[in-house]
């Protein structure tokens, strides 16, 4: 039986999970997921707490490596390479796959240094070049006008929404191909959330964006494709509009209509 979730053609897929599982010790948090994530689109992953959606997201740039008991099985293909292969350099992978976290986490450094952190890692030392990258990234994340006069100030002085956009700018500064967002607005107020959502709309096309969210309206608003996960299993993956209006699976319908979860 062909997997109904493989609606993206292989050539359009940027990320491709093949029977991909993640284990915490003996506990299988992500169970044999097959999913193709399209290039240049926004893909949302929804599901109740503990369904493995964050674990799946973090697996894409191997952030789960930080947890000693965590291991992955199956293949996660990124540009025809399994990122879990032994010859993969995690550092360069993470530079190509940027990540924005649940809580804004700017470094306790100046705004400039925060954005320049990634480029400096890549060996860029010239002040002019760095300034250009910083300005470009801040403009892209729609925060330039608010901070251009206070780049020397500590990033922790900014509001939560500004901090999160700064984190996006910081991720963009290393010119990644993919941007992973792990519930990026859950710690923000509605106004700041709107700004982030607008930003996601502007960024799609240039980047492949994968966003994990608790908020179904948000998924409906910002994403082109949506995946629904439940208890580690990918239940349904489809075009966002279809998934919310005509879900194929009963569980999806129950979840989006608020009957459980």
């Amino acid at each position: 039986m062909p997997d109904t979730n493989l609606i993206i053609e292989e050539k359009d897929a940027h990320i491709k999970a093949e029977d991909f599982s993640v284990f915490y010790g003996n506990n299988e948090a992500v169970k044999k997921v097959n999913m193709r994530i399209p290039k240049g689109k926004v893909t949302a992953i929804i599901g109740p707490s503990g369904c493995g959606k964050s674990t799946y997201l973090r697996a894409i740039n191997r952030m789960n490596d930080l947890i000693p008991i965590c291991r992955a099985d199956g293949a996660m293909m990124f540009d025809k390479q399994d990122i879990y292969a032994s010859n993969i350099d995690v550092v360069s992978l993470r530079q190509r796959v940027g990540m924005v976290f649940q809580k804004p986490n700017p470094f306790p450094k100046s705004i400039f240094d925060n954005v320049a952190y990634g480029p400096r890692l890549l060996g860029i030392k010239k002040k002019a070049e760095l300034s250009e990258i910083v300005e470009h990234s801040l403009k892209k994340s729609a925060i330039w006008d608010e901070v251009k006069d206070r780049l020397k100030e500590n990033a922790l002085c900014m509001s939560g929404g500004q901090q999160q956009r700064l984190c996006i700018a910081r991720a963009l500064a290393v010119q990644p191909e993919i941007l992973l967002m792990d519930e990026p607005t859950s710690a923000l107020d509605p106004k700041a959330t709107t700004k982030i959502e607008d930003l996601i709309g502007e960024l799609c096309g240039d980047y492949t964006i994968i966003i994990v969210t608790h908020n179904m309206q948000q998924a409906a608003r910002v994403s082109d494709f949506t995946a629904f996960m439940y208890e580690g299993i990918l239940i349904e993956f489809g075009i966002t509009k279809n998934l919310f209006e005509k879900p194929r699976e009963k569980q999806t319908e129950d979840y989006i209509t608020g009957r459980f979860g």
Binding site: L66, M99, R170, A171
Partner: protein, 448 residues
């Protein structure tokens, strides 16, 4: 529980809390006030002309002309005293034998006391020891010595049921009817003219070396030794401690070996400091021969060992307190583990690391037992920095003990003892203050 009871319990607890804080502060004040007062006495005191003369001749402080003028004045005032002595010597021979013996004894005592008070008699050979070459340099001590000249210490055994009582009998009594009788009132009346006491600020106490086993001079070698030892201990302990803390908190996989290491570290922190001293002697000096004998280097290493557990523990706590999100963010941008520790985790943990380090620095500066075997000597010159590799040094902590217990004239150098205690406390407080300021500045930079 009733609202009333709850409120009462809350009040009770805050009351107990305030009381304990107040008691602590009171004890601190009780401790610090006399130390400060008496310690400052080493620097600010009423000094005599003998002091000024000594200070000029031995250390080159002061204005030569002025001092010589003053000394000439004092000499004129003293001349009758010696004259009286000489003329009375002839008179003694004429006295009856029994009286003569008694008076001779008294004269001998007076002569000794007078030597201590005003220095050697004129036209006698210069004594070998520096302490005998000068009279009393401090007015306060001079008054005591004057008392020795004027009164003889005797014991009253008249009541056989009780132990003897110390009484001071005026020596004048023994000389009643002789020409020497006027010696005592003259001395008492003119002592100020003979010693010319004057308020003195001897700040060079901090920068002079000591003369004649701390009878005179300052405590520079001790201060320098203490700083060398404390900073030396830091040089060994801090990098090692921070590296160990990074390894333990960032790299090591928790397991049996790591918990065993932790237990060992805890045990190390509880080892008595004298044992560290013995270990330092046995290992650093006798086994691996970092120096031929006691040296600042060996002492620093021993102290480093002593404070290492504290440094590691506090650095580890500070590193653990850095939010995990910083690490994730840094690693997420493609930083390697070491890079993210170096650029993000360590700077964020710096205030905490600094606090632990400075607490240990204070401890290293004050520790006595470990350096007895490895670094400390009672008397020595200020060391040059390269000499610390091979030379032992006097240090405040050890010399406080030494001067209070093993010195030949413990009573006469009280001011030096208090001065050392005061300076040691001041050094430790100064270290702490620097750390508090540095910490506040770093925090401000981090928090924005």
């Amino acid at each position: 529980m009733q609202l009333k009871t709850r409120k009462f319990i809350n009040k009770l607890f805050s009351g107990i809390g305030i009381t304990s804080v107040v008691i602590m502060t009171a004890f601190l004040l009780i401790l610090l006030t006399p130390i400060t007062y008496k310690g400052l006495g080493a620097i600010f005191f009423s000094g005599t002309i003998e002091y000024r003369m000594l200070n000029y001749k031995e250390f080159g402080h002061g204005d030569k002309e002025n001092i010589e003028k003053e000394f000439a004045k004092a000499k004129t005032a003293r001349a009758p005293v010696y004259l009286q002595f000489d003329s009375f010597k002839k008179e003694v021979k004429k006295l009856e034998p029994k009286k003569r013996r008694e008076i001779k004894n008294q004269l001998k005592e007076i002569k000794e006391a007078l030597k201590e008070l005003l220095g050697p008699f004129p036209d006698t050979p210069i004594p070998v020891l520096l302490r005998n070459q000068y009279g009393q340099t401090r007015w306060k001590n001079a008054q005591e010595k004057l008392h020795h000249v004027l009164y003889s210490e005797e014991w009253d055994y008249s009541d056989p049921t009780k132990p003897g009582i110390q009484v001071f009998v005026p020596r004048k009594k023994y000389f009643a009817g002789t020409s020497f009788e006027s010696f005592f009132p003259y001395l008492e009346k003119n002592i100020k003219k003979m010693l010319l006491p004057k308020f003195t600020c001897y700040w060079q106490f901090l920068t002079d070396k000591s003369k004649d086993a701390h009878f005179f001079g300052g405590i520079m070698p001790e201060i320098l030794g203490t700083i060398y030892l404390a900073l030396g201990a830091m040089i060994f302990a801090v990098p090692l401690g921070i590296l160990a803390a990074i390894y333990l908190s960032e790299y090591a996989n928790p397991g049996k070996i790591i918990s065993f290491l932790r237990i060992c570290m805890g045990a190390l922190a509880g080892v008595p400091s004298i044992v560290f001293g013995l270990f330092g002697l046995a290992f650093f000096i006798n086994t691996i021969h970092v120096s031929n004998s006691k040296s600042v280097l060996a002492g620093s290493m021993t102290l480093a060992l002593l404070i290492l557990p504290t440094v590691i523990r506090s650095a580890e706590e500070a590193i653990k307190a850095v939010p995990n999100t910083y690490r994730e963010a840094s690693l997420g941008l493609g930083a390697g583990k070491w890079h993210s520790v170096w650029t993000i985790v360590l700077p964020s943990a710096l205030p905490g690391i600094l606090t632990g380090t400075i607490i240990s620095l204070g401890r290293a500066a004050g520790e006595t037992a470990p350096i007895i075997f490895t670094a400390a000597v009672s008397v020595g010159l200020p060391l040059k920095i390269w000499e610390t590799l091979s030379q032992p040094t006097p240090a405040l902590s050890w010399n406080i003990y030494n001067l209070c217990t093993e010195h030949e004239a413990v009573d006469e150098i009280r001011h030096v003892q208090y001065g050392m205690v005061f300076v040691l406390i001041a050094i430790v407080l100064l270290f702490n203050l620097t750390a508090i300021i540095a910490r506040a500045r770093i925090m401000k930079k981090l928090r924005g």
